[in-house]
């Protein structure tokens, strides 16, 4: 058994595809109609056969209050590994991304937290040393 999927619950699948590909730099892998929604996944260009990120709809009634509570407390839904958090932060700020936490040296990791425009906060991190 292998872990092949990660997921994020997004307010709008088309808007999420734009953000996760055009802004974050992931690449669309699968886009299959499922009823009113899509089975929509992206992968990292650095790992095209690796773990896919499913951009899931947020239609279940439990999802909205759950997401709002996490965002209010600044809690990211998931985290992505980058080579250099500070460089990534500068690049993303340059294209208008909103951060709730600037890069902070947390000891073994450096992290920053950004708004994915689809109802979630997402962390980026690199390990020090």
């Amino acid at each position: 058994m292998r872990i092949n999927l990660a997921s994020v619950l997004v307010d709008d699948q088309e808007k999420a595809l734009r953000f996760y590909s055009d802004v974050l730099g992931f690449v669309k892998k699968h886009d299959i109609p499922v009823g009113e929604d899509r089975w929509l996944t992206v992968v990292s260009p650095q790992d095209p056969d690796g773990t896919e990120l499913v951009l899931e709809p947020s239609s279940h009634p439990a999802v909205k209050p759950f997401k709002e509570a996490l965002v209010a407390d600044g809690i990211p839904y998931t985290s992505f590994a980058v080579d250099d958090v500070k460089a990534e932060y500068e690049r993303l700020r340059g294209v208008g991304v909103r951060f709730t936490q600037e890069p902070v040296d947390m000891g073994p990791v450096t992290t920053a937290v950004l708004d994915d425009t689809c109802g979630n906060l997402v962390q980026i991190a690199h390990q020090v040393g």
């Binding site: 709002e68 965002v71 209010a72 407390d73 600044g74 809690i75 990211p76 709730t100 936490q101 600037e102 902070v104 040296d105 947390m106 000891g107 073994p108 990791v109 992290t111 937290v113 906060l121």
Partner: protein, 138 residues
């Protein structure tokens, strides 16, 4: 009813003229000092805890943090084992004392340090009693 700073206030409250005409029972004096210094008591109580002092250090390092950032800093930089719930309760105590303000900005909540409640405490101990006639000892 115990007031943490009653003992501190007592030393200079008792030299005010006309003090002896106030009710002199112990409980009444406690009640009077508690009403006047309840805010100061909150500040002392807030500062007494080492985790809360670290929270104030971190907000001084960078003001305007989410609960998540505060928790991350305490866990990874300071190796504190406090849960998010416990840290949230510490922030409530700091807020009651006026040392932390929580502001809602859109969908996010940020915590800010407010050092104004510390000013009367510092002023009290830095003021020289001899300079001010009102506090001249009999």
């Amino acid at each position: 009813m115990a007031c943490p700073s009653a003992a501190i206030l007592d030393s200079w409250v008792s030299v005010l003229p006309g003090w002896r005409s106030f009710p002199s029972t112990y409980l009444d004096r406690q009640a009077l000092t508690c009403v006047t210094c309840s805010r100061v008591g909150d500040v002392f109580k807030a500062l007494a805890d080492p985790t809360r002092r670290i929270i104030l250090d971190e907000l001084t390092d960078r003001n305007g943090q989410t609960l998540f950032e505060i928790c991350s800093r305490l866990t990874t930089k300071h190796h504190l084992g406090s849960s998010r719930q416990a840290i949230s309760q510490h922030l409530d105590v700091l807020e009651t004392a006026g040392l932390v303000e929580t502001r809602r900005e859109g969908r996010y909540k940020f915590h800010y340090i407010n050092t104004r409640p510390l000013e009367p405490i510092i002023e009290r101990w830095l003021k020289k009693p001899e300079k001010d006639g009102l506090y001249r000892r009999p």
